[in-house]
């Protein structure tokens, strides 16, 4: 595989803060096939990037969100501009350790405000809602199918989300409290489904995954910390999943945002913190991508919440990440700087972040990854977010 040495991103607004990362390392050198892990965390409901990473240094923040200011008293400051929401204690630690970075003011190419279409584009990688039936993460798996050890892909969810649906093999698992079926019954079901293309394929995939997760001891995914540990247990072993995905709800904070956001953020933080510890040595070769469909309005609405907006923030974690930095241009919160007079203006294409980071991490050609995962974009893949 030939890798271009100059994969500097073509997006508008250069990554000034990542200048040191611009020199492109030869990432193919240090890579052992089959040792890289990727976890995609999808935040459904439009996570408020300005609540996660509050731009306290921007005078517009206090003007629009005076109500939220007490939340950031004594919060960890990241540079002179930003403060991290206090619910993100574990993420903050990872940031200090150089294992986490943020890209602020990110958005997909979607510029309307429907959750469902926004999520459809973020998951399918299409430019028009409902235009693609498979997901970008599944196509990423597909790009690696020819490798010596093609990755096993897994959704930790009761059903496979769109991002992981498609041609390439993917399975799903979520703990339940149903009693295991008897071996004889399972065997008979296998034979019953033998000639059935759809059920036969689902069935063999289910049996394989269940064997892998045999002793999780969990009955559901409600405990964020245990869920983080479960995901790690399904990924860290050699035979485990190398590409995984989980979805978290609770981000659609239209009313009384402060409490609702703190709850959702606390959950996410607990999951990521537990996952980090439980991955053990495999953490060093792990990339976690945390993204949402779009952001929220800059100003609070009439019910102390925020409505559907445009740009949000994206979090990257893992030992593989060039952490301790906030990438992306800050668009500003002055009236004239807002998108349509109400939203944070996007300065970095979210697709560029996802394609660039996952391709460099998995040892794929970023330009090729960009066209396969997110076709028909004008922006190129973003480089330098992960270590070689």
């Amino acid at each position: 595989m030939t890798l271009s040495l100059n994969r500097r991103s073509l997006i508008a607004g250069s990554l000034a803060v990542t200048a040191s990362a611009a020199c492109s390392p030869n990432i193919a050198m240090a890579r052992v096939p089959g040792d890289r892990n990727l976890l995609f965390v999808l935040l459904r409901g439009a996570m408020d990037g300005m609540a996660m990473l509050a731009p306290l240094g921007d005078p517009g923040f206090e003007a629009a969100r005076a109500l939220a200011l007490p939340d950031y008293d004594g919060a960890t400051r990241l540079g002179s501009m930003f403060a991290l929401h206090p619910s993100f204690g574990e993420v903050g630690k990872a940031y200090q350790d150089g294992d986490a970075l943020f890209v602020h003011a990110t958005a997909t190419s979607y510029r309307d405000r429907s959750h469902f279409d926004g999520q459809d584009l973020l998951e399918s990688g299409g430019v028009k809602p409902n235009s693609k039936r498979d997901g970008w993460l599944n196509r990423l798996v597909g790009m690696m199918e020819g490798e010596e050890q093609p990755p096993r892909a897994l959704a930790i969810a009761p059903t496979i989300p769109l991002a992981l649906r498609g041609q390439a093999a993917a399975s799903n698992y979520a703990p339940s409290n149903l009693p295991n079926a008897s071996a004889d019954f399972l065997d008979r079901v296998s034979r019953l489904y033998e000639g059935d293309e759809q059920l036969g394929a689902l069935w063999s995939s289910a049996l394989e995954t269940r064997a892998m997760a045999a002793d999780s001891g969990l009955k559901n995914l409600r405990d964020a910390q245990k869920t983080g540990e479960l995901i790690a247990s399904l990924m860290r072993e050699k035979a485990g999943a190398r590409i995984a995905m989980i979805e978290l709800n609770g981000w659609d904070t239209h009313a009384n945002q402060r409490g609702a956001f703190a709850r959702a953020a606390g959950s996410l933080d607990a999951l990521l913190g537990a996952y980090r510890i439980a991955m053990g040595p495999a953490w060093d070769k792990t990339l976690v991508l945390v993204a949402t469909e779009f952001g929220r309005t800059v100003r609070y609405n009439g019910t102390r919440g925020t409505d559907h907006g445009t740009a949000s923030a994206t979090l990257l974690m893992g030992g593989a990440v060039r952490g301790g930095q906030i990438a992306g241009d800050w668009p500003g919160m002055a009236e004239s700087q807002l998108f349509q007079g109400r939203d944070l203006r996007p300065t970095t294409a979210l697709e560029s972040v996802l394609a660039g980071a996952s391709a460099e991490h998995m040892g794929l050609d970023p330009a090729r990854a960009m066209t396969q995962l997110f076709p028909d974009r004008s922006a190129g893949p973003l480089s330098g977010l992960v270590r070689a």
């Binding site: 959750h115 339940s176 079926a181 009439g302």
Partner: protein
């Protein structure tokens, strides 16, 4: 599939144990539409819980003055949100007594309503009509995951959807989106006009204002569809028109509350004054009627007809419904002014839903109801019904978004989902009558039972095992 098997399984919830398949399948579906009972026995005795949500919120607010912490916990506990670490019961136990009782009552109501929803479908002599109830209920999806809503989600389906099943779409729309369950779910109950008398009197932190959540979802999800021709300005104008619509039982506003037929109340003092422009039309300020007039116009738009026709066709044919069917349903809707009875009859009389091969994977709720009808199990009990549906991945009134549960195969036909059905089937089959399974299978899928299913049923080592296999057979999984 034979026509009879299609009528039973694609249109209905499967044959009920001990009953006979109809001899004229199409005529029988039309009969079911006419014979539908909006309030069968199990719902007739149900106590009316309207107004309880507002009272619960009121108790929480009163408590707020005494203990902020207890009130916050009660607010969290009064919705069916996921809770961590402690069980729900343990957390409810820690609430002060005046809150504890009310929160318990909310859960009791939700549990009873979920059980009633399942049992009505299991026992129904008009299962096709029940499928339509659940289709429309999902179109106007509400969840029990917001403060107070466990009291209201049952009311929403039983009193806003069911009575309007064969009426006008505009009536179902108004009943469903102006219902307290929806006003609570999509934050409308707290929205108020920035220039309303209510806000003009208040200063600083007490001031409230607009929340555009409900207005947007009505346009995007309930009527026009996402490309239905509306703009951000239309959403905001509609949100202004909706201000004043809220739930009853809140003490502060009690004396201003004007009761509405949807079960909600209108507070004129919270309504944004002035006329509104929505999609090129002008609506004079007529108080509560202003939003109603907008809803009537939205219901009549061609984009609405197209959007609803596509969804209904998708539910009864395949993920990509035939264009011919969509067009026929759309014209029917426009010609009749949104007469749902006519729309449902046109669906039955169309050739497309009678296509031979099954193209849809049964959703978990559909599968469970069909399993119960096949086995003759009348009820699983309240707690177990919820538990089983949760494990299957489709708890009623807990759809992940206001768009309701997905209606495409890929959302349901997953490896883990299949394994869960197998685990549950073995357990249900162990405790159900298991005689003459082959005969019952042939009766439930007349001339439609596949060779492998017959083979493996006949090789089963016991009746119970044969029943278990039948419950997870390809015939039971797809419709």
């Amino acid at each position: 599939m034979s026509k009879t098997s299609i009528a039973l399984n694609r249109f209905g919830y499967g044959l009920h144990h001990g009953t006979r398949a109809p001899s004229e399948p199409q005529a029988d579906l039309l009969r079911q539409l006419a014979a539908f009972n909006p309030r069968p026995g199990a719902l007739a005795d149900r106590p009316d819980s309207s107004g309880e949500a507002g009272e619960l919120i009121q108790v929480i607010r009163q408590q707020q003055r005494k203990s902020k912490q207890d009130a916050a916990r009660a607010a969290e506990m009064s919705s069916a949100q996921e809770v961590k670490k402690m069980t729900r019961e343990e957390r409810i136990d820690q609430l002060p007594p005046e809150l504890r009782g009310k929160v318990r009552e909310a859960y009791g109501r939700l549990r009873a309503d979920i059980e009633a929803r399942v049992n009505v479908a299991v026992a129904s002599p008009t299962p096709f009509a029940e499928r339509l109830v659940h289709f429309w209920s999902n179109h106007f999806s509400v969840t029990a995951q917001k403060q107070g809503t466990p009291f209201e989600v049952g009311n929403h389906e039983f009193y806003a959807i069911r009575p309007n099943l064969n009426g006008r779409f505009s009536d179902m729309l108004k009943a469903a989106v102006l219902h307290p369950a929806m006003l609570l779910y999509l934050d409308q109950w707290q929205s108020s006009g920035p220039n309303s008398p209510f806000n003009k009197r208040r200063k600083g932190r007490g001031r409230r204002g607009l929340n555009e959540n409900l207005a947007r979802e009505i346009m995007e999800l309930h009527t026009l569809g996402v490309n239905g021709g509306y703009s951000q300005a239309d959403v905001t104008e509609f949100a202004r028109a909706l201000t004043g619509w809220t739930v009853k039982g809140l003490a502060r506003i009690k004396r201003f509350a004007e009761p509405q037929s949807s079960g909600a109340v209108f507070i004129a003092a919270a309504h944004e004054p002035g006329s509104r422009q929505v999609m090129g039309r002008n609506y004079t300020d007529a108080g509560a009627r202003q939003a109603v007039a907008i809803l009537d116009d939205l219901a009549a738009r061609p984009a609405t007809a197209r959007f609803l026709a596509t969804k209904l066709a998708r539910h009864f044919t395949s993920d990509t419904p035939p264009a011919s069917l969509v067009t026929r349903l759309e014209s029917d809707f426009l010609r009749t002014g949104g007469d749902l009875a006519s729309l449902h009859r046109t669906l039955v009389r169309s050739p497309e839903p009678w296509a031979n091969a099954p193209a849809k994977f049964r959703q978990p709720f559909e599968w469970l109801v069909s399993v119960m009808r096949f086995t003759g199990v009348e009820t699983l009990g309240g707690r177990r019904t919820i538990g089983v549906l949760r494990q299957l991945g489709q708890e009623p009134w807990k759809a992940p978004s206001p768009a309701g549960f997905d209606d495409v195969n890929a959302s349901w036909a997953g490896p883990d989902a299949l394994l869960r059905r197998v685990e549950l089937a073995e357990r249900i089959a162990r405790n159900a009558p298991a005689d003459a399974i082959m005969e019952r299978a042939q009766a439930a899928f007349p001339d439609a039972l596949s060779e492998p299913t017959r083979t493996w049923l006949s090789r089963a080592e016991s009746g119970h095992q044969a029943l278990g296999l039948m419950l997870v057979s390809p015939e039971m999984m797809r419709r």
